[in-house]
Structures are given as structure tokens and as C-alpha cells.
């Protein structure tokens, strides 16, 4: 009885490739978008001529963006140290 032929590893792991593409798009564009929206929110919060509600919304936007940025940095450090 002969040993079964091992299945060769594919040259391209399309599943991983798809994950890399999808996650890179999500995280890369997402981070930039969050930061940019945060800048816009900050500018709104600082506008003295804007209504109070709008300025408050802007402050909330800044808070949300700063939290997201901090979480992203934490994620980045986690990824980096996970390799180590």
C-alpha cells in the first residue's frame, strides 16, 4: 500500500490574500477617515460663531476620534509585540 500523495501548498493562498486586501482597505482607509473627521470636528468645535449644539457635536467628534486613534495605536503595538 503506497503512502498518499501530499497535497502541495498553493503558490497563492487566495483566502489570506483576500483577507489582507479587505482588512488593509478597512483599517487603512478607516484610520485616515477617522483622523480626518476628527480634524474637521475639532475645527467645528473651535468655531466661536457656530451654534452651541454644533460645537458640542464637534467636541464629541473629537472625543470619538481621539479614542479611536488611541485604540488604533494600542492595536498597532499589540500586533508588533505579538510577533515578538
Amino acid at each position: 500500500m503506497t503512502a498518499p500523495t501530499p497535497i502541495p501548498t498553493p503558490l497563492i493562498d487566495w483566502q489570506v490574500l483576500g483577507q489582507v486586501l479587505g482588512l488593509s482597505l478597512l483599517i487603512g482607509i478607516g484610520l485616515v477617515a477617522i483622523f480626518s473627521i476628527g480634524l474637521a470636528a475639532l475645527a467645528t468645535a473651535r468655531k466661536e460663531s457656530a451654534p452651541t449644539a454644533i460645537r458640542t457635536l464637534g467636541q464629541l467628534g473629537v472625543l470619538l476620534t481621539a479614542s479611536s486613534a488611541a485604540a488604533t495605536l494600542a492595536w498597532g503595538f499589540y500586533i508588533i509585540t505579538q510577533k515578538g
Partner: protein, 381 residues
């Protein structure tokens, strides 16, 4: 088999490679930061150098391998390692001179493959691994980066279109500094870890330490310092190409490029498909140029960069093979010395030539006029 002299040469070569890796890859972390004025040139490289040290000390797990999945680890010997390093160092210096961002990791792989071919023939090389681990990721990396950075640039410009230029510029520059820091730490971790692996492999092969020993502290410290020193020297020629030679960057596109690069690199690493930092960073810069209306990509320069990528493996491989042949010719110890002297001579000649058309912190941001070397008439010193 103990051969302390050869071991010292291999460790020295590994640290020299680490040093060239530092100045060669600095641009990946800081080129957009410098190009947009987010940080002054010297400040940027100092900042990156410090964070490279931090990253190197985060490398807690080191595998005593070199080009694993690419060459048969059972056939790796100290002369093969030394030949591979010689090939990688030489290619790094040549591409630095021409201001071409190329992958130091691929140069090391190429050098080792070349040395292995000279040593053990085709049976020593895992061709499937080269295609799966080098070629395929090498093609994917810049394409993914162009796409991510291009879309990110469009999103960022749209989201901040109503902010005054001054406030937007300040905010984006702050973001660039953060992204640059993250990339510096990631690069310090990844690439210093590779050199630590090479040195550890050499120590194990020489019988100095056992295969299950942890990485000696002096190895970690030496690799961290070598990479940081190279980073601080600053590969200004490559920084200039990436910061100005591919496309004109502003604070928004610079931030988009750097944050996209960090995201792609960390994501791909997390998913087990590490992509070249250099290819991703270059692709990101090009992506922002493609996405910015009215701003052109210097496709001629981009073409030269891609050409350098295509020949990295064979070029470093040729030098690696020649280095191994040289070692065989003069015996292990004498051969390693001879090869080392040749590499030093090549580096000296190239460095001397580069001083005649200097690119440094003072002129790295001069306007790009289709040439790496800034217009000399515009310089004050």
C-alpha cells in the same frame, strides 16, 4: 565545528548588514514626514532611530534561521551565511547610491539563495518558497498599497475640505509624526529580529550556544544599536526619491500615505503574509499621487524603482554566489577575509563617488527636477 574567527566575521557582517538596512530603509518611515516639513530632516531620523531601538527590544522571540522556507536550513553553513550577507550589503549600497528604495529583506534572501546555489546547487533552494514568499508578496504589496493610499487620500481630502489650510496642515503633520513613529517601531522589530536570527544561527552553528538557548542580550543590544546608527545616518538619497522623486506630497497626502503603509504592513503581518515595508511605502506614495488631481506621478522614476525591485534577487544572488566562490577559493577563513575586503572596497568607492554629488539633510528637500541630485546652482554651500 568551532571557528571563532569566521564566527566573528559573520557577526560583523550581520551587524554591517543591519547598519545598511537602517540607512536604506529609513525612508520608509520618514520620507513623507521630511518632504512635507512635518519634522526637520535631522529631527526625523533621530526620532526614527530612537524608535527603532525601542522596536528592536520588543523582539523577544527570535528564530535562529535565515531565509527560512526559501533555502534548506539543514544545508546552511557559516560560509553560506557570510556569502549571503555580502550579497545583501553590496546590493543595499548600490541601490542607496542610485537613490532606489529596494527591499533589504529581499536582498538578504537573494544573497543567501545565490550563496546556497554555489554551495549545494538547486537542491538547496526551495523554489516554491521563493515564489510563494517573495515573488507573490512582492507583486501584491505595492498594488494593495496604491489602492489603500489612493482611496485614503480621496477620503481625507473630502473630509477636511472645509478646514482652513493652516489647521489642516498642522493636524495632518501631527498624524504623520504618529504614523512615522509606528512604522519605525514596526521596522525596528521586524528587521532587527532578522539580523538577530542570523547571528543566533551563526552562534548555534559554531556550537557557541545550543539550539534552544535564548538570544544573548549582547546580540539584541548590538543589533538595536547597529540599526539605529544606520537610521540616524539617514539614507538621504532614498529619502529624497521617496519624498520628492515619485510625486509631490503635501501634508494630507503624506499622512494618507504613511497611515496607509502602517495599516497594510501591520495587517498583513498579523495575517501571516508579511509584505515588504519598502514596497508598501513606495506603493502608498505613488497611490497618493494617482489620487490627487493635478499632481503627477513621475513614472520614469517609478519605473526605475520597479526595475530595481525586479533585479534585487538575481543581483544580490550573483554577488552572494561570487562571495561564496571566493570563500571556497581561499579557504573558509582566508576566503571570508578576502570577500570582506572586496565588499569594503566596493563600499568605499561608492561612498567616495557619492560625496561628489552629495545629498544630505541640507538639500534633501530641494525641488525635484527629474534628477536625484539637486541642482547644484541652487545650493548655498
Amino acid at each position: 565545528m568551532h571557528n571563532t574567527f569566521v564566527l566573528i566575521l559573520v557577526v560583523g557582517a550581520a551587524l554591517a548588514f543591519d547598519f545598511t538596512n537602517g540607512f536604506h530603509d529609513t525612508a520608509n518611515s520618514v520620507a513623507p514626514t521630511i518632504a512635507t516639513g512635518a519634522l526637520k530632516p535631522r529631527t526625523a531620523v533621530a526620532y526614527s532611530a530612537v524608535l527603532h531601538v525601542v522596536g528592536a527590544f520588543l523582539s523577544l522571540k527570535v528564530a535562529a534561521t535565515i531565509a527560512s522556507s526559501i533555502v534548506n536550513q539543514d544545508l546552511v553553513t557559516l560560509p553560506v551565511v557570510f556569502g549571503g550577507l555580502a550579497g545583501a550589503i553590496t546590493w543595499n549600497i548600490v541601490t542607496w547610491y542610485f537613490g532606489l528604495p529596494s527591499s533589504s529583506s529581499h536582498a538578504l534572501v537573494g544573497g543567501v539563495v545565490g550563496a546556497m546555489l554555489a554551495s549545494a546547487g538547486s537542491s538547496g533552494v526551495l523554489w516554491h518558497g521563493i515564489i510563494a514568499k517573495v515573488f507573490v508578496p512582492g507583486i501584491i504589496a505595492p498594488l494593495v498599497a496604491v489602492l489603500v493610499a489612493g482611496i485614503a487620500t480621496l477620503v481625507s481630502r473630502q473630509a477636511t475640505s472645509r478646514i482652513d489650510e493652516g489647521s489642516r496642515g498642522i493636524g495632518m503633520r501631527v498624524g504623520q509624526i504618529g504614523a512615522s513613529g509606528l512604522m519605525s517601531i514596526a521596522h525596528g522589530t521586524n528587521d532587527a529580529q532578522k539580523t538577530m536570527g542570523v547571528i543566533t544561527l551563526a552562534l548555534v552553528a559554531n556550537g557557541t550556544i545550543t539550539g534552544d538557548a535564548s538570544v544573548p542580550t549582547w546580540v539584541v543590544v548590538a543589533c538595536a544599536i547597529a540599526m539605529a546608527a544606520g537610521t540616524f545616518i539617514g539614507g538621504w538619497r532614498i529619502i529624497r526619491t521617496m519624498g520628492h522623486g515619485l510625486t509631490a506630497l503635501d501634508s494630507t497626502s503624506g499622512f494618507a500615505a504613511q497611515m496607509s503603509s502602517a495599516a497594510v504592513i501591520l495587517t498583513s503581518s498579523h495575517l501571516g503574509l508579511p509584505l515588504s515595508t519598502t514596497y508598501v511605502s513606495t506603493g502608498s506614495v505613488i497611490g497618493t499621487g494617482v489620487a490627487t488631481r493635478g499632481r503627477k506621478v513621475h513614472w520614469k522614476t517609478a519605473g526605475r524603482v520597479v526595475f530595481a525591485w525586479l533585479i534585487t534577487l538575481p543581483a544580490a544572488g550573483c554577488v552572494g554566489a561570487l562571495a561564496y566562490a571566493g570563500e571556497s577559493l581561499f579557504g573558509v577563513s582566508g576566503g571570508a577575509v578576502a570577500v570582506g575586503l572586496v565588499v569594503v572596497a566596493i563600499a568605499t568607492v561608492i561612498f567616495a563617488r557619492s560625496r561628489k554629488q552629495k545629498v544630505d539633510a541640507s538639500n534633501v528637500n530641494e525641488p525635484w527636477r527629474s534628477e536625484l541630485i539637486p541642482d547644484q546652482s541652487s545650493l548655498t554651500a
